[in-house]
């Protein structure tokens, strides 16, 4: 029987190809994601192994705040360097810094982009423990000299002797370029830019005099790295609050931190790859169902010749396993290409993640092939069982149309799912855990999919009505064809439904978030202009720049808002830092209790819901620890309702701290009578001098802040694109099989006078009806899902649901186009139907 199955599988090359195509698409995203993740992981492994290659020990502060999006650590006093150098076993040690510094190009524009790889300032040293090697020129000495990495010097066309302007925490200065450096063998790691100074200049310019980030230590070879670290630790001053790690430990820790952040991202990708796989499942199941129906005669003949039910069923399952293995192997190969496409997608929307080479794990191959084969086999089980049940007599009969049987049971099960789902969603909307939301959405989707075959006929008839009006009998046949196999139509439309529902839900969610951003900013920001920077938690607008703008004669007031990591009670959030003295009338937290402008140095403001949840009413006090380890009790001075952060403090709190303080936004109001042109000119004279930030009017700013959501939406669209492709391929496959199945009919139509273009029209509209059936149900489902998600996320700050009307229209038009595109090839095939052989042969 196995040999027979194998032979029968290989004999039907077309069917084999179509089924494999569905599996290839379904599994390729899965393998693409795992290859992509493995590649970024190994890229970072290599990068940090390279960076810390010469480092035997690493000394750093013990104070840190871990926000969950990477750790922020306090600075270390330079004075510890002498202590470290005295430890026996240490041959060299040097201060290390990776602070914010931005090189301004010869054209006055800064090098690097706001959202690109980071721009660093650091220390150049002759010490053997330093990471930088002088390529040409010499090391910088004193407050007027600097060095650049080779890639940056080339990008900015700087040569030794040039004057280079650099912006950093303490302002903008000019330096003379005395050398070009290499980072080990690399010219510039990860595309970042580096401005290098001697240690005192670096500390004073980039951070705070007398402080560096950490120390890099090289041993003399007499001690193992562990012994060296121990020896250094024993000598460090307790008051400096420092600790020593081995080179291997710091490499491991840095890598794992990056991996943790990337982990969120790869989980996100994996979720979408499972969506694609699920969508692919429908296509695979559909293909097996249709082919099983089409080979009914073949199965019946086998039965008539003495094959048992089990043998007939097994032959189909064996076929599924063969196709599954084959398809998933090809899917894995396609995934290699897809991993590159993922990289390109991320680059295109500005989320650059460095990847070098291609890392393929055996586990990725095994899991892809395993998952692909298993789902293919599972998809084939029902059709295979159905095949086995074919009576031998069916061999003599005409192929019957597939009919929906057990409609009542189907409706009952579907409705049951829907009810369970709605209960889950209602629970979620009333504040139950997020898991209820997820399960509720899942159950509603399942309910709709189960009900699909029951509603596909009436809905297809309804959608086809206008077409039958416009296109006459050709349209009537499209309408009837779309409705004649309700199960098939429902299964074909299911991938479209899932894709459209997700697109709609995310679009609705994004629209709601945008609306919320507009409202939040609109009501909190009262000024005329905003200077903003999207720094991704690194650097920003130095507060002295904010003060400079505030002092401009054209400016009435300018106030800055920044975010910084801190421990508050048992949490480690980013807290909002603002200047209460200048915020009045410009930045309004919408206080509920207390006053924003009178916030003192030892006080804190809390978002109202947070204050209730954490039992921190006005008048109570909470312990706050800053990155530099300073711990204090802050008094809750008020509650507010409108801001991005749950805690807000005055920037006075950071006076004298080694923690660099940057503003993310500067809100500006101008003196009355100052023209727009004049205001922009004077303000941007300062902001362009530091080379960062975007100056916008109030309306422009609100628009651009809301538009940031689009980046994530673009990523989600990109990731859903593959599901859409699978949906299109699903329609193509179904239509091809239907055209084959109806070749007699098409031949007859051609004989009695249907032109080729009418045949194409007929197939095209059937395709459009099927696609629209999926889209219309998908849009409805997506809107419902969107509403529920918005309601249940209410607490996280989204209050109102915004229906994205134009997007919904675009989605429907898009589905229409999908239908048209999917029909092109099957319609062409249909026009090639040989009239004689399809009619005369019986």
């Amino acid at each position: 029987m196995f040999r027979l199955s194998l032979k029968m599988t290989l004999a039907r090359k077309g069917r084999l190809l179509l089924t494999s195509l569905a599996i290839i698409l379904g599994t390729s995203f899965l393998s693409g994601t795992s290859i992509f993740s493995a590649t970024i992981n190994s890229t970072f492994d290599r990068l940090f192994t390279d960076i810390f290659r010469e480092v035997d020990a690493y000394v750093r502060s013990t104070n840190s705040v871990d926000t969950g999006f990477g750790e922020q650590r306090a600075s270390s006093p330079v004075s510890a360097l002498e202590t470290i150098l005295k430890v026996s076993g240490v041959s060299a040690a040097v201060g290390d810094m990776q602070s914010y510094a931005r090189v301004i190009g010869k054209d006055g524009k800064p090098l690097g982009e706001d959202q690109g790889p980071p721009t660093f300032g650091g220390i150049a040293s002759s010490s053997a423990a330093g990471l930088w090697n002088v390529e040409t020129g010499r090391l910088p000495v004193g407050p007027k000299e600097m060095m650049l990495d080779r890639a940056t010097s080339e990008a900015g066309k700087f040569v030794i002797g040039d004057t280079v302007r650099v912006n950093a925490l303490t302002g903008t200065r000019e330096f003379s370029l005395v050398g070009i450096a290499n980072y080990g063998d690399i010219s510039s790691p990860g595309g970042a830019t580096f401005a290098l100074f001697d240690q005192p200049t670096a500390s004073e310019f980039l951070l705070k005099p007398g402080f560096v980030d950490a120390f890099l230590v090289q041993g003399d070879g007499t001690l193992s790295d562990e012994e060296l670290a121990k020896a250094i630790n024993a000598k460090l001053l307790r008051s400096d609050k420092l600790e020593t790690l081995t080179g291997a430990q710091i490499t491991e820790e840095t890598t794992s931190q990056i991996k943790k952040v990337l982990g969120f991202f790869t989980t996100f990708l994996t979720a979408f790859s499972f969506i694609a796989l699920g969508v692919g499942c429908f296509v695979i199941y559909n293909v097996f169902s249709i082919t099983a129906a089409q080979r009914q005669r073949e199965s019946a003949l086998l039965r008539a010749l003495g094959a048992s039910r089990r043998q007939v069923t097994n032959s189909l399952i064996i076929e599924a396993v063969i196709v599954g293995v084959l398809g998933s192997i090809l899917g894995f190969i396609a995934g290699i290409g897809l991993s590159q496409a993922l990289s390109a997608l991320l680059n295109a929307i500005g989320l650059e993640i460095p990847t070098t080479g291609l890392t393929i794990n055996t586990s990725a191959i095994v899991s892809t092939v395993l998952v692909g084969t298993v789902i293919t086999t599972l998809s084939a089980i029902l059709p295979a069982l159905r095949s086995g049940r074919v009576p031998p007599l069916a061999a003599m009969r005409e192929t019957a149309l597939d009919t929906v049987t057990g409609l009542g049971r189907r409706v009952r099960i579907g409705v049951l799912f829907l009810v369970v789902g709605v209960v889950g969603l209602l629970a979620a909307a009333n504040g139950a855990k997020v898991i209820f939301l997820g399960l509720g959405v899942l159950a509603v989707f399942a309910g709709v999919l189960v009900l699909g075959p029951a509603i596909s006929r009436p809905v297809a008839m309804l959608l086809g009505k206008p077409i039958s009006k416009i296109r006459g009998v050709t349209g009537v046949m499209s309408q009837q064809n779309a409705a004649r196999n309700p199960k098939r139509t429902a299964r074909t439309a299911a991938p479209v439904l899932i894709g459209v529902a997700l697109v709609t839900a995310f679009t609705a969610l994004a629209a709601s978030i945008k609306g919320e951003i507009r409202e939040t900013i609109g009501s909190s920001f009262r000024g005329d202009y905003a200077l903003s920077v999207d720094s991704r938690g690194f650097g920003g607008i130095p507060t002295i720049i904010t003060d400079k703008i505030d002092q401009l004669p054209e400016v009435a007031t300018a106030t800055g808002v920044g975010f910084i990591a801190a421990k508050v009670g048992d949490e480690s959030p980013f807290i909002l830092v603002f200047n209460p003295k200048t915020a009045k009338g410009l930045y309004d937290l919408e206080m509920i209790e207390g006053r924003q402008s009178s916030l003192g140095k030892n006080e804190i403001l809390i978002e109202q819901d947070k204050s209730i949840k954490k039992k921190l009413p006005v008048g109570s006090s909470v312990q706050v620890t800053l990155i530099d380890g300073r711990t204090m009790q802050l008094k809750v001075a008020g509650t507010y309702k409108n801001a991005y952060g749950n805690y807000a403090v005055s920037r006075e709190l950071f006076e004298g701290s080694t923690t660099p303080l940057f503003d993310s936004f500067v809100y500006i109001s101008t003196v009355e009578g100052v023209s727009d042109e004049n205001a922009r000119k004077t303000i941007s004279a300062i902001s362009s001098d530091i080379g960062i930030g975007t100056l916008e009017s109030r309306n422009e700013y609100i628009d651009s802040q809301a538009a940031q959501v689009n980046q994530i939406l673009a990523l989600i669209y990109g990731l859903l694109f593959l599901s859409v492709i699978i949906a299109i391929v699903g329609i193509i496959i179904t239509l091809l099989l239907s055209v084959f199945e109806r070749r007699h009919e098409i031949g007859l139509l051609r004989a009695v006078g249907m032109t080729r273009s009418q045949v194409r029209t007929m197939i095209r509209w059937e395709s459009v009806i099927t696609s629209l059936f999926g889209a219309v149900t998908g849009v409805l489902l997506g809107i419902v899902t969107g509403v529920v998600i918005v309601i249940s996320l209410n607490e996280s700050g989204i209050r109102g649901f915004t229906l994205p009307i134009t997007s919904t229209i675009f989605i429907l038009i898009g589905s229409f186009i999908i239908g048209v595109i999917a029909a092109v090839f099957p319609a062409w095939r249909a026009t090639r139907t040989n009239i004689i052989s399809s009619i005369a042969s019986n």
């Binding site: 149309l401 006459g472 009837q480 009919e745 006078g753 080729r756 009619i839 005369a840």
Partner: protein, 244 residues
């Protein structure tokens, strides 16, 4: 012979499949014409080329050499689109099976060629045709709800609906029991006698052929002979001799 009396004809028609050693001459230099207003039949054993001849005259297949005409129209000069239009307007078809579109009602099937050409047709004529097939009460039914004989009657009505130049019937009773078969044949006979239509039928059954006014016999791709006013006995007798 007056050409206006000819509904369809073939001139030195040849149809060759394959080449060289494998060459098969399905039609070998066949010249034959079929009169308007007559019920003609083509007979011959399997492989005699009778179906090929009909397919070529009907514009479903093309000749290797020679010409075919429907009325005065030379099919070899027409594009696929023009031939399709000609089939829709000037030709009717009745096949052995797969005659009806399962998703359309009996009435929609009958008017299908008209609808495809976006024409409403001659309503009085269509009513007359439908009356003749006496299926007035089943017009809204789908083909799957009709018996085999009823389905073939709908097919004949469809072929008549456009008042074509000629109707081609390919073994129209091949799948029917003898009662339904003879009903169809009588009905076709009436279409010619009473409604002045032209029918060309391919068959291998002597009884069916005897309903025709004239029989053309084909053997090995050649015209082997013809018979006017046939009876089943005469046909069987002729076939017996043809086989010798």
């Amino acid at each position: 012979m007056n050409s206006t009396r000819i509904a369809a004809r073939a001139e030195s028609a040849s149809k060759i499949y394959g080449s060289g050693e494998n060459e098969v001459r399905a039609l070998d230099n066949v010249s034959v014409s079929f009169e308007r207003g007559k019920f003609s039949a083509i007979m011959g054993p399997s492989g005699s080329g009778k179906s090929t001849l009909m397919h070529c005259i009907a514009g479903l297949d093309s000749l290797t050499q020679g010409k075919v005409f429907i009325g005065e129209t030379d099919l070899s000069e027409l594009s696929d689109k023009e031939i399709t239009k000609l089939r829709r307007e000037k030709v009717g078809f009745v096949f052995q099976s797969f005659n009806l579109i399962p998703t359309l009602s009996a009435y929609e099937n009958i008017t299908l060629p008209l609808s495809l050409g976006k024409k409403s047709g001659d309503e009085a004529w269509i009513k007359q045709v439908i009356d003749t097939i006496s299926l007035n009460d089943r017009l809204e039914h789908r083909p799957s709800e009709l018996s085999g004989g009823q389905q073939q009657r709908v097919a004949v009505a469809r072929a008549l609906a456009t008042q074509p130049e000629i109707i081609f019937a390919d073994e129209p009773t091949g799948n029917l029991d003898s009662k339904s078969g003879s009903d169809i044949l009588k009905f076709m006979r009436r279409a010619v006698t009473d409604l002045k239509q032209t029918i060309l039928m391919v068959t291998h059954d002597a009884v069916s052929a005897s309903y025709a006014d004239r029989i053309v016999f084909l053997a090995d791709g050649h015209v082997a002979g013809e018979m006017l006013e046939p009876t089943p006995e005469k046909v069987l007798d002729y076939l017996k001799h043809l086989g010798e």
